[in-house]
């Protein structure tokens, strides 16, 4: 996937000027937030569950090597195979080898951000293998040649009318008079089309919400059941997952599941929670003949032991972006790579480098709502600040910003000089503000006055006035 994060500002301007996108984003602002709040309010132990979910992941990350090895043993014991991939390219070629060995021409896919991260669809297409997305949102954006704009609602940037137009364009074998005015009719049409694909597919690829060390199982949660059909019907099932998806036990999994769907969509549980352990056994009624797990690192192990380790607790619920005023304003594509919103602002620099994604940790008001709703208590603003520190240390932010900051700090570090300068500048600025008491334009304040007036200083500074007042009191006493 092409990285456009360096053009974040231009992306954002485009997003702000796009009326369809702005209409669609209105639904994010209302829907997700209310539903999550209701679900949380209905579960008194929600905060206690968050604490225990965090503890489970912290423990796992502290012993990640042990749990990964234990997991691999269990997968093998169940008749599956684990393939270790250090980089995205390694993962792609491992997956290609498995597909080639299976003689695959069509691959069905469950919703998976990790395959977005490794750019799997474009790669398979180039290699002559046709990937078919089976999650409704993913299916829609595949028709449009786009990428997800949200980690759990990939097509959230689109309006219903846009989807209807895409379906009429792509499904030209269906009668043009059919009714597509309701989301339900769009869903059943997609199901109709996808049904044939499930049976045609030679390989099914899914991600994983959890990998369970205790049993060697992979767990996915979905609302459409497409994941089950993707992993059960083809002859070969490939799970693609990053190393931090591991949890020790099924009991741990169920603990974290209790916060996952509530944080994501406000459901108590997703409609389907599917646990897969190895290929089909003799007594199983169905299932794949081969079960492969491609375990991806792609930079995660180098986050361990750093100030960014906490990010590896992320369970990809999307609550941070659902509550982010910046995400609400510009949507997910503006962030310019796979992961948008606050979690993307922390994770993306770790994965593709802060030199390419420096805007992301900066484009936050630090309002703290993301951290407040994160089910895993990830200190997102704190970690964005850590990225800003690294950028500052490497001189990556714009020179004008750096010099402006240094000039201000020069005064802020020297109280006498600061107050002397302020005692001249502030009364002058106050007088300049005139009877209006505000500025419509002010040199060097264009970033502010482009969109809003700047209130003028009231009069002299507070400290000037206070000093005079105290001196007056002193005089009165003597």
């Amino acid at each position: 996937m092409q990285i456009t994060s360096p053009a974040f500002k231009a992306n954002a301007r485009g997003a702000l000027a796009d009326p369809h996108l702005q209409e669609a984003l209105g639904h994010v602002r209302s829907g997700f937030i209310d539903k999550r709040q209701k679900a949380v309010d209905a579960l008194p132990e929600f905060d206690a569950l968050r604490d225990s979910a965090r503890a489970i992941k912290d423990h796992t990350l502290a012993h990640l090597d042990l749990y990964l090895e234990a997991y691999e043993e269990k997968v093998k014991a169940a008749g599956g195979r684990v393939h270790w991939a250090e980089t995205a390219a390694d993962a792609r070629s491992l997956i290609l080898d498995i597909c080639r060995a299976a003689g695959a021409r069509t691959v069905t896919k469950g919703k998976s951000m990790i395959t977005e991260e490794i750019g799997l669809n474009e790669f398979l297409e180039k290699e002559g293998i046709r990937p078919v997305e089976t999650d409704l949102g993913e299916y829609i954006i595949q028709l449009r040649g786009e990428h997800p704009s949200h980690i759990i609602a990939p097509a959230v940037h689109l309006t219903k009318n846009q989807v209807e137009a895409d379906f009429r364009r792509a499904h030209h074998h269906l009668p043009p008079t059919r009714d597509l005015s309701e989301p339900a009719s769009l869903l059943s049409e997609a199901r109709e089309v996808l049904r044939a694909e499930y049976f045609a597919a030679d390989v099914g690829i899914t991600g994983a919400n959890f990998l369970v060390a205790e049993t060697g199982s992979s767990v996915i949660v979905t609302n459409e059941g497409n994941g089950d059909l993707t992993q059960i019907l083809p002859r070969v099932h490939i799970v693609v997952a990053s190393i931090e998806k591991i949890v020790p036990t099924l009991a741990d999994t169920s603990q974290i599941l209790r916060v996952l769907a509530r944080s994501a969509t406000g459901q108590d549980m997703s409609v389907y929670t599917t646990v897969s352990t190895g290929p089909r056994r003799a007594e199983d009624p169905d299932g794949p003949e081969e079960y492969h797990v491609v375990l991806l690192d792609n930079g995660r192990s180098s986050m361990l032991g750093t100030e960014f380790q906490d990010m590896l607790r992320c369970i990809r619920c999307g609550a941070c972006m659902n509550h982010c005023p910046v995400y609400h304003a510009v949507g997910g594509h503006a962030y310019g790579w796979v992961y948008p919103g606050p979690m993307g602002a922390v994770l993306t620099p770790s994965l593709i480098g802060v030199d390419k994604s420096g805007h992301l940790p900066n484009a936050s008001t630090f309002c703290g709502r993301c951290e407040a709703v994160c089910p895993m208590h990830i200190p997102l603003p704190k970690m964005m600040r850590h990225w800003r520190e690294r950028e500052f240390a490497r001189g990556l932010n714009p020179a004008a910003q750096r010099y402006g900051l240094k000039a201000w700090a020069f005064f802020a570090r020297r109280p006498r000089l600061y107050h002397l300068a302020a005692s001249f500048a502030i009364p002058a600025l106050s007088a300049f503000g005139g009877a209006q008491r505000r500025f419509r334009y002010l040199p060097f304040a264009g970033g502010w006055t482009k969109h809003r007036d700047l209130p003028a200083p009231e009069s002299r500074t507070f400290l000037q006035q206070w000093r005079d007042r105290e001196a007056g009191k002193q005089e009165a006493r003597t």
Partner: protein
């Protein structure tokens, strides 16, 4: 046993750079409220800014230098109070992280333990339940992010506003959603900031209140600037101005009539 009969607590007022430069009325209102609550208030001249612009821009070196000056200037007081959730949050929650593993660590922790935001100090520490002010008219209240989420300031200003005679509080829809100020964010990403404050302005106008209040001058200047650019007839003030009965002068940016 009331505390002031023994000894009036000595409060150092950290006035904040924005109040010092742009809105001295908030400083005087803070002093008045603190004195009404039974405190002895001093304003050290060696204060400048809490250092947040440096801290949030990744410039730790300057942030630490500014923090050292603030701690040295204020550590002698019983309490340090700031009329801003954002600056108080910086002093209380973030200064200790700047000195982790540093010889100043304990000193910073002792300082931070004495820091309070004004509303929280009046209600939670001094037990203030009512003020003597009057305000004829309706107000709405925006919860600034740092105060709300770092310092749990939500009920305190509302409780005190409830005691102002004549004042009618009309709750703001999405009062807990950011106004788009975000410190340097608003000038680094002006178009996004504008979109966020536009949404806020829609809700402020829909509240039908004559006056908008909040506890942070940065947010207030942002919202006032937007409302005034739109020509809205809504006055904008710091909550301390109303609680101290010092709301007869021009509003922030001179807005409203």
């Amino acid at each position: 046993m009331r505390q002031e009969t023994l000894k009036r607590p000595r409060v150092g007022l950290f006035v904040t750079c924005l109040v010092d430069l742009f809105r001295p009325t908030v400083g005087f209102a803070s002093v008045k409220l603190l004195e009404e609550a039974g405190c002895e208030v001093e304003v050290p001249m060696a204060q400048t800014c809490c250092g947040q612009p440096a801290y949030n821009s990744g410039d730790r070196e300057d942030a630490i230098a500014i923090a050292r000056n603030t701690i040295e200037t204020f550590e002698e007081f019983d309490y340090i109070v700031a009329p801003s959730g954002s600056c108080a949050g910086m002093l209380k929650k973030h200064y200790p992280t700047l000195f982790k593993g540093d010889p100043w660590e304990e000193r910073a922790a002792a300082f931070s333990a004495k820091v309070h935001e004004l509303m929280s100090f009046l209600v939670d520490v001094m037990g203030m339940e009512a003020v003597s002010a009057a305000h004829e008219g309706s107000v709405t209240y925006h919860d600034s992010c740092s105060g709300l989420r770092e310092l749990n300031i939500r009920e305190q200003p509302r409780r005190l506003l409830g005691s102002v005679s004549g004042l009618k509080l009309k709750e703001l829809k999405d009062a807990d959603v950011c106004c788009g100020f975000g410190g340097t964010f608003c000038v680094k990403y002006p178009d996004i900031s504008n979109k966020i404050v536009e949404e806020k302005a829609v809700n402020i106008k829909a509240s039908g209140a004559e006056t908008l209040l909040a506890g942070d001058l940065g947010c207030l200047m942002n919202m006032a600037g937007k409302l005034q650019r739109q020509g809205a007839d809504i006055k904008v003030r710091h909550v301390a101005e109303v609680l101290a009965g010092m709301d007869d002068g021009p509003a922030i940016g001179g807005g409203g009539r």
